[in-house]
Amino acid sequence: MAVLLIADHDNKSLNDTTLKVLTAALAISADVDVLVMGDGAQAVADAAAKATGVRKVLLAQSPTLAKMLAEPAADLVVPLMQGYDAVVAPATTAGKDISPRIAAKLDASQITDVVQVDGPKTFVRPIYAGNALETITTNEPKLVITVRPTAFKAAAAEGGSAPVETVQAPAASPKAHFVSEAVTASDRPELGAAKIVVSGGRALGSAEEFKAVLEPLADKLGAAIGASRAAVDAGYAPNDYQVGQTGKVVAPALYIAIGISGAIQHLAGMKDSKVIVAINKDPDAPIFQIADYGLVADYKTAVPALMQALG
């Protein structure tokens, strides 16, 4: 069985999520090739070639592929699938955009958000906002899978020396093109990969307050910043901060929820964190039911006290 893994990257460096998904791919089969599609992404391919367990790297480059839009991505991957039994992508927004398009073109099912590989054709995935875990198996000739990176340990970034092969990029799709992007600038660790995450909710009340309370704490802890949907909807935080069922899934060593009630949809994105801390002034807030350490307090006094105790 041969697996094609779609690499996650920014055309400059290989994202750590790729190494986590590689672990899942290697649990399906020992024959894993990594596809790097992008533009000016040679360094990404070279990095992928060094990861332990990679058999071969395929590099497809063209301006059309630079933003990994679904149409050219599917045009590239679908013909390559003649040589593979499975295609695996990280459950990032790009992966979730591309993967079902590939699946339908192959007349195959889409298996979303795999958190456990129980065999080459048996997978576990969360459903109903993570309130249930479903084990599924299939006899489909082609498997099309997205993997939740937080559920797997990263494969070793070094140790391999796979060959890099160039593959032909597809023609530009006349039907879709990139216009612009507004990337949230931050020097903090990436939300999905951070060891510590501090998240703020509706209680913060404004964008200024959200910044003023969470940024110093995050900087002191070397943490990434997250938010509840309510905080994002209200404009206190950018959309890519949203943690939850329909936002990002995180599983850091430490998750600190500040002024977040703990709705089902929020819990779905953070309940696999190792240690959960909740600061909320309502002792009955549902977040306390899953918090390892709960502090019933107004964040306005609790966060400065926390800053002080951290020294």
Binding site: A70, A94, A103, P126, A132, L133, T135, V232, Q265, Y293
Partner: protein
């Protein structure tokens, strides 16, 4: 321009799903069911485009049990013009749903399919992309802004790094994210009016498509429960516990 909006009947987002004791699935008996929240956002967007004069007709389609007419009625009360129920008692996988929707698109000829990015029951996030693939249409997923200009849609997408804007030619499939709009509540007069709007009902089998499941559910279990936590009195206590007991600082 006609807009097609697929709406799914799902467990209400306020209800916590419970796994059945025999591990065959989630217990939906006597559970409140609603329109998938993302689909409400899609209906709202379609109705707004209708109100702006950009869309000429909004058709809501649901695939599912007879009771899914309730969700179609909700869409009609929000302002959709007519409904279609493709009736089946089978729980269809995303590919089968996409195949049925493709048949509906071919019959109806919409220039735009506006739909949810994800149904909150299966959390698949797949049908829109699959429908676009089957039709060989472009797709714009996770939309937080949609502008129709002539033969194109300019769509701002919520992506991992922030926001991305793309342009797709019409016809296209657009899947919507949370920030696109805030769906209206249907007013009582509009709920009454919706009762008179037509809903066509067709059995799924009439489409003559292969809708058989491809995946076998081995079991459905509850996720491991987190051990109970404790309350700390002060921030200083918290830091001490995080350092010594939890070892995460």
């Amino acid at each position: 321009m006609k807009i097609l909006v697929p709406v799914k009947r799902v467990i209400d987002y306020n209800v916590k799903a419970r796994v059945k004791a025999d591990q065959t699935g989630v217990d939906l008996a006597n559970v409140k069911m609603s329109m998938n929240p993302f689909d409400e956002i899609a209906v709202e967007e379609a109705v707004r485009l209708h109100e702006k004069g950009i869309a000429t007709e909004v058709v809501a389609v649901s695939i599912g049990v007879a009771q899914a007419q309730d969700q179609i009625r909700t869409a009609l009360a929000m302002g959709a013009d007519r409904g279609l129920l493709i009736q089946t008692d089978q729980d269809l996988e995303p590919l089968a749903v996409a195949k049925l929707l493709k048949a509906v698109v071919e019959a109806e000829g919409p220039a735009l399919v506006l739909m949810g990015k994800q149904a909150i029951d299966g959390d698949n996030n797949a049908v829109g992309q699959m429908l676009a693939a089957l039709l060989d249409w472009p797709q714009a997923t996770f939309a937080s802004k949609v502008e129709i200009s002539g033969e194109h849609a300019v769509v701002t997408r919520e992506v991992d790094g922030g926001l991305q804007t793309i342009e797709v030619s019409l016809p296209a499939v657009v899947t919507v994210d949370l920030r696109l709009n805030e769906p209206r509540y249907a007013s009582l007069p509009n709920i009454m009016k919706a009762k008179k709007k037509p809903i066509e009902i067709k059995p799924a089998a009439d489409y003559g498509l292969d809708l058989a499941p491809r995946l076998t559910v081995v079991k459905v279990v509850e996720p491991p429960k987190r051990g109970g936590g404790i309350k700390v009195e002060t921030a200083a206590d918290l830091v001490t516990k995080l350092k010594t007991e939890a070892g995460v600082l």
